[in-house]
Every structure is written in structure tokens, then in C-alpha cells.
Symmetry: C2
Subunit: 122 residues, 2 copies
DNA sequence: CATATTAATGCAACTATATTGCATTTGTAA
DNA sequence: TTACAAATGCAATATAGTTGCATTAATATG
């Protein structure tokens, strides 16, 4: 795994962003630094390296956010908040939902998104 | 809203299916009954009419399932189980997660998907 | 410091999925 | 039975992501 300019910049953007970023947003922020295909590939690598996690938004679009405490495996069992007005997606790291599902289902991952209005849009 | 053949068939398929169906699965099951564009439009109408709800799968793909108790507004606050092996998506209607998020967020909808292995695939 | 190795990139082409405009068909109310 | 508008089919277009391959560049080694 090499520390390229694209990788550094993309990781920086995601890490310093208050909200999760989409591929398109990253592309715009990078302003031609690299090809859009490279962004896809860098994102894949960052996810493999457990530095970033992928969030499926309520509208099906993808967002990327920095991982915290994901050294071993991804555990993004926290809630994601998706604002229906501004489109921002925020990790609510401290909130973990409680639920019980039938024992016959073997749970591996959890994807929990709540949508509505974020503090900035109320 | 007219009761066309396409509408009837598509609603039947979704209602009688144990698991949520994708557009592609519906298209295959209909076996040329109507154009794929029509399927998109019928699904949109069924969602508007609160007869079907749309589920965003963990891989970002869309699935459609029959609505229960959605006369006024969609309340699919139940859990969806997504099988990583066979790809099936099942509504676990009886399971509703408990969670608390900061008051400054205004919650409107909830989208909760758990992935792993379904009873058939364990 | 030079250089060899190979990961990473750029580009173009391609695939998959969804949407739109418009002419035609068809369900339904009068 | 007929008229009207909803629904459909088709072709074109849009959007998002992937792949193959030649080229570039990061890094380990001598």
C-alpha cells in the first residue's frame, strides 16, 4: 500500500469532514487532482485498510466517512443520520440501537440510517 | 389510478413473495408482460399509493416489499434482514429497534437493515 | 544516489441501472 | 359508445460504477 498524493488528499478530506462525503463531492473537492476512476480505487483501498467506511444513504447513494476504532474489523453499528433537506450524512457514533431478531438469523453487520432534518436545517 | 394488467401482476408478485423483490427479479418473473420502463413506473405508483415500500439493500440495490398498515404514511420502521449468501431481503415486521438520538435531530424515517445469513443459508 | 520492481494512475471503452420525451394504446367515466 | 386522460412502449439519454491496458511513480534495495 503506497502513500500517494491521491490517497493522502482523499483520506484528509474524509477525515476532516464533519459529514460523510460522496464520490461526487470528493471529486469536486479534489478539483482535478486525479481521475475519477482513481477516486473509486482509492476509496476501495481505504475501506480495505479499515480507514474509511461506506454508508448507504436512504436514497441509495453512497457516502464515505472516516473510521474510528476499526482496527480489527469494521464495526459501524452506530446510527447514521441523513438530512432530507441538505443531504448531509452524519455518523452518530455514540448512538447504538438495541434490537432483538429471531435466533435463526445469523447477524454479521448492521446498517442503521435515520432520516429527517439535521440541526442546521431545522 | 387505473387497474392495469401490469399493475395487478406486479402487485400480486410483490404481495405473494416471501422476500422483497428487485426490479430485475420482477422483470424476470413477468417474462415480457410489459416493458421494463413500465415496471419502474408501476413501482413508483404502488409506492405513492402506500401499497409497496422500497428497501435499500446493504449493497445499495433496491428491493420492493408489500406494505402492511401503511394506510396513512409509510412506517417501515421494522428491521430488514439481508442475506449475504442468497441475497434475499426479508421484512422482520415484528422487530422494531430501540434507540435515542440527540433532540436537535428531527427524525422522520428509519431505515434499518441487518445483514448476515438467513435461516435457509445457515 | 541509482535503479529495479510493482503498486497506482489515466484513459477509453464498457456495463448496469434508472429516467425522459413523445407517440400510441387502453381503462374508465359519462 | 365515445371521449379523455392515464398508462404504456420505444428510443434516446443520464448516471454510476467497472475493466483492460499502457504509462507513471513510490519505495525498497544495492
Amino acid at each position: 500500500m503506497r502513500n500517494t498524493i491521491a490517497r493522502t488528499q482523499i483520506l484528509d478530506l474524509i477525515t476532516n469532514s464533519k459529514t460523510a462525503l460522496s464520490h461526487a463531492e470528493i471529486e469536486q473537492l479534489l478539483d482535478g487532482l486525479c481521475n475519477r476512476v482513481t477516486i473509486y480505487r482509492v476509496l476501495d483501498r481505504l475501506i480495505d485498510d479499515k480507514l474509511v467506511h461506506k454508508i448507504i444513504n436512504v436514497d441509495g447513494s453512497l457516502k464515505f466517512a472516516a473510521c474510528r476504532n476499526c482496527s480489527d474489523h469494521h464495526h459501524d453499528s452506530h446510527i447514521h443520520f441523513s438530512c432530507l433537506n441538505c443531504g448531509s450524512v452524519t455518523c452518530l457514533e455514540s448512538v447504538e440501537p438495541v434490537f432483538k431478531i429471531p435466533r435463526k438469523y445469523k447477524v454479521q453487520e448492521v446498517n442503521f440510517t435515520v432520516s429527517g432534518l439535521c440541526p442546521d436545517c431545522t
